[in-house]
Amino acid sequence: MSDIEPTVEWVSDAAVIQDPTGLHARPAVKLTRLAKTFEAAVEIRANHGNNWTNAKSPNKVMKLKAAHGEPLHVRAAGADAPAAVAALIDLLNRDFDD
C-alpha cells in the first residue's frame, strides 16, 4: 500500500430498504438525524450506484434515490464508527419505525 493516500478504516454493513416508496423524504430525515448524532464520518451508497454519499446531508440522501427492496450500504470511519453503522442498520431493519 502506498502512503501517499492515507488509509481510512471503514466499518461497513448493509440492510434492505423496506419502505414501499424507498428512501424518500421522511426516512431521509430520520436517517440523517441519527447519523448526525455520531462523530464518525458516515456514508451511504445505493445498491444501484457506485458513489458513497454523506449520510448527514438530507439533500444528498434524498438525491440518492435508493429504492424499496434494494440494499442500502452503510459505512463509517472515526471513533464511534461501529456504533454509527450498527445504529443506522438497526433503523433500516425497523423500517424507520413507520
Binding site: 414501499p20 423524504a25 446531508s57 434515490k65 424499496h68
Partner: protein
C-alpha cells in the same frame, strides 16, 4: 378606523377560477410577496450574520408549524427543517457570501440550482420535493426581507389578496380567522389549491386583477364557489352574502360530523364512499380515514408531459398508494389517454374525432409495450397487497376484456418465469360507452365502474367541451339514469360490485338520483367526500319512485 360617510362607490366584479369554499364578506387585505421589499446588502460579515439569523427564524417558524400541523403536513415541513440544517446546502451559500455575494442572492442561486436538479432528474418522488425546496427558498427569503411580519397585520375576517401564495405562506396563515383568499395568478391544480381544497379554505385564483387599484380596507364579497370577488358591494349583495355565509357555516358543521363516519342513508342503507386520486400530492394532503378506499386512480399523471415511466417508477407509486389506503380497496385505472387527454408520443395525432377514436383501452392495444409495462407494475403491486384492483377504460365489446385479460396473464407468466413475485388482481371495466352499459352482463368483468362523464357524452351525443350543447348533456337525463340502472342490475345478476366514479358522484345534488338507481358505491373527488356523505345521510329511499335497495 372610521366608516366612510360618502356615497358608495360602484361595485367592481372580478372573475377568477373557483378552487374551493363558499361565500364570505370581509375587509380586503393586500399581502405583499417575499422580495417585494427592497433589501440593502451589508458587508460579507453582516451578510453572513443576516443569513444565519434568517435560517434561525425560518427554523423556529417551521418548528412551531410542525407542532401545530397534522402529521401529513408535518412530514413535509420536517424535510424542510432538515434541509435548513444541512451543511451541503448552507456551506456553499456561506462561501458565496464570504466571496462578496449578498445573502439573498447567494441563497436564491443555491436553491434555484437545487430545485432545477430535483425537477430535471426525471424521478417523480424527487420532482415532487422540488416544491418543498421552492417553499423553503421563499421562507428564508421572507425572513431575510422581514416580510413574514406582514401576516400579523391581517385583520380578522379579512379577504386576503395576493399575487400568489406559496405552500409555506398558506400553512403560516391561521385561516380560521380569515374569510379566504384571492390570487391574481395561480392555478387550480397548484399545491396551494390542493391544500385549500383539503382544508376547506375559500380560494379563488387567476383573477388577473390589478392589486394596486384595490381600495385599502374596502369591503368585498368573496364568492369562492362562483370564483368571483365583488369589491364595494351594494347593501342587497351584502345581506345576501351574510345569509349565505351563515348557511354555509351551518353546513360545514354538519359535514364535520359525518366526514369520518361510514356513510349511511337516513333509512339505514350503508353506502361506500371512495376517493378519486388524480395526483400523488393528494396522498400527502388527504387522510385515507375519511374514505372507504380509492375507487379511481387516474394514472395519466404518471405520463404527464410525455414521460414514459418505467415499471419500477410505476411500482413505487402503486406501493405508495396502497400504503396510503392502509388495507382499503384501491382501484387503479390503466392509462386512459386520447380523447381530450392527448399524450405526446403515445396518442395518435390527426384523428378527425378523437373522442370516437383510438383512446383508452383501444390506445393500449395500439401501444402494447406501454400497456404491458403498466400491467407488470400492477401485478407486482398486487402481490404485495391483496386490495388492488385493475380497471380498463373505454371498453366497448367483450372481446376487448378477453384480450386484455390474456395480455395480463402473459405478463404474469413472464414475471413468474423470471422469478419475480406477482399476483392476479381483480380485473374490472369502466362503463362509459352505451354499448357496454346496455350489455354489461355479457362482460366477464370482476367489477363494473360507471364513468358518468363519458357515458353522458356518448348517450346524449354532446361533446363534453362544448357549452352550446350543455343543456342536453344533463346528467339526470332519463336515458343516462336508465343505463346506470341496467348496469346495477347486471352487477347484481352476476354478483359483482358496481360503483360510479365519474363527476356525478362528486356532485352532492345528484347523489339522490344515483342512490335511486340502486348504487351503493360512489367514488368522488376527495374534497367532496364530506358533502357527498352529508347528501347520503339526508337521503331516505323509503317511498321514493324507482328506489330499489333490495
Amino acid at each position: 378606523m372610521t366608516a366612510p360617510a360618502q356615497p358608495q362607490t360602484q361595485p367592481q366584479v372580478y372573475e377568477g377560477i373557483a378552487v374551493s369554499g363558499g361565500v364570505a364578506l370581509g375587509p380586503l387585505h393586500v399581502l405583499r410577496g417575499p422580495g417585494a421589499t427592497a433589501r440593502r446588502a451589508g458587508d460579507p460579515v453582516q451578510e453572513a450574520a443576516a443569513f444565519k439569523a434568517a435560517l434561525n427564524e425560518a427554523a423556529t417558524a417551521l418548528q412551531a408549524l410542525i407542532e401545530a400541523e397534522d402529521s401529513l403536513a408535518g412530514d413535509i415541513l420536517e424535510f424542510q427543517l432538515a434541509l435548513l440544517e444541512d451543511d451541503d446546502i448552507t456551506a456553499p451559500v456561506l462561501a458565496a457570501i464570504a466571496g462578496g455575494t449578498p445573502a439573498d442572492r447567494a441563497w436564491i442561486d443555491k436553491m434555484d440550482a437545487e430545485i432545477a436538479d430535483y425537477r430535471g432528474d426525471g424521478d417523480g418522488v424527487l420532482a415532487g420535493r422540488a416544491e418543498d425546496l421552492s417553499d423553503l427558498k421563499n421562507r428564508v427569503l421572507s425572513a431575510l426581507t422581514g416580510s413574514s411580519a406582514a401576516l400579523a397585520e391581517v385583520p380578522a375576517g379579512a379577504i386576503l389578496v395576493a399575487e400568489d401564495l406559496t405552500p409555506s405562506l398558506f400553512l403560516d396563515i391561521d385561516w380560521s380567522r380569515l374569510a379566504g383568499a384571492v390570487t391574481t395568478g395561480g392555478s387550480p391544480t397548484s399545491h396551494v389549491a390542493i391544500l385549500a381544497r383539503a382544508r376547506g379554505v375559500s380560494l379563488v385564483v387567476g383573477t388577473r386583477l390589478a392589486v394596486e387599484g384595490l381600495p385599502a380596507g374596502g369591503t368585498a364579497i368573496l364568492d369562492a364557489a362562483a370564483g368571483r370577488l365583488t369589491v364595494n358591494p351594494d347593501s342587497a349583495a351584502r345581506a345576501a352574502a351574510e345569509a349565505a355565509g351563515a348557511a354555509e357555516a351551518e353546513k360545514e358543521r354538519a359535514i364535520a360530523a359525518v366526514l369520518h363516519q361510514p356513510a349511511r342513508t337516513a333509512d339505514g342503507i350503508p353506502v361506500m364512499v371512495l376517493a378519486n386520486i388524480d395526483a400523488p400530492a393528494l396522498l400527502d394532503q388527504v387522510s385515507s380515514d375519511i374514505c372507504d378506499g380509492v375507487g379511481l386512480t387516474r394514472t395519466e399523471f404518471l405520463f404527464a408531459g410525455g414521460r414514459q415511466p418505467d415499471e419500477e417508477e410505476q411500482l413505487a407509486f402503486y406501493r405508495r398508494l396502497l400504503a396510503w389506503a392502509d388495507g382499503r380497496p384501491v382501484t387503479v385505472r390503466t392509462l386512459d389517454a386520447g380523447g381530450d387527454k392527448p399524450l405526446p408520443g403515445v396518442t395518435i395525432d390527426g384523428e378527425t374525432n378523437p373522442f370516437l377514436g383510438v383512446r383508452g383501452l383501444r390506445l393500449s392495444f395500439a401501444r402494447p409495450e406501454v400497456f404491458r409495462c403498466q400491467l407488470r407494475a400492477l401485478v407486482r403491486a398486487a402481490e404485495e397487497a391483496g386490495n388492488l384492483k385493475v380497471m380498463l377504460p373505454m371498453i366497448t365489446a367483450p372481446w376487448e376484456l378477453d384480450q386484455a385479460r390474456a395480455m395480463l396473464d402473459e405478463e404474469i407468466a413472464g414475471l413468474r418465469q423470471a422469478g419475480i413475485p406477482c399476483a392476479h388482481p381483480a380485473l374490472g371495466i369502466m362503463i362509459e360507452v352505451p354499448a357496454a352499459a346496455l350489455m354489461a352482463g355479457d362482460f366477464e368483468a370482476d367489477f363494473y365502474s360507471i364513468g358518468s362523464n363519458d357515458l353522458i357524452q356518448y348517450t346524449a351525443a354532446c361533446a363534453r367541451d362544448n357549452p352550446a350543447v350543455a343543456a342536453l348533456a344533463d346528467p339526470r337525463t332519463p336515458a343516462v339514469l336508465e343505463l346506470i340502472r341496467r348496469v346495477v342490475a347486471a352487477g347484481e345478476a352476476r354478483g359483482v360490485e358496481v360503483s360510479l366514479c365519474g363527476e356525478m358522484a362528486s356532485s352532492p345534488a345528484l347523489i339522490s338520483s344515483l342512490l335511486d338507481c340502486g348504487l351503493t358505491m360512489l367514488s368522488c373527488a376527495p374534497a367532496q367526500i364530506g358533502p357527498v356523505k352529508l347528501a347520503i345521510a339526508d337521503y331516505d329511499g323509503r317511498g321514493r319512485n324507482g328506489a330499489d335497495h333490495g
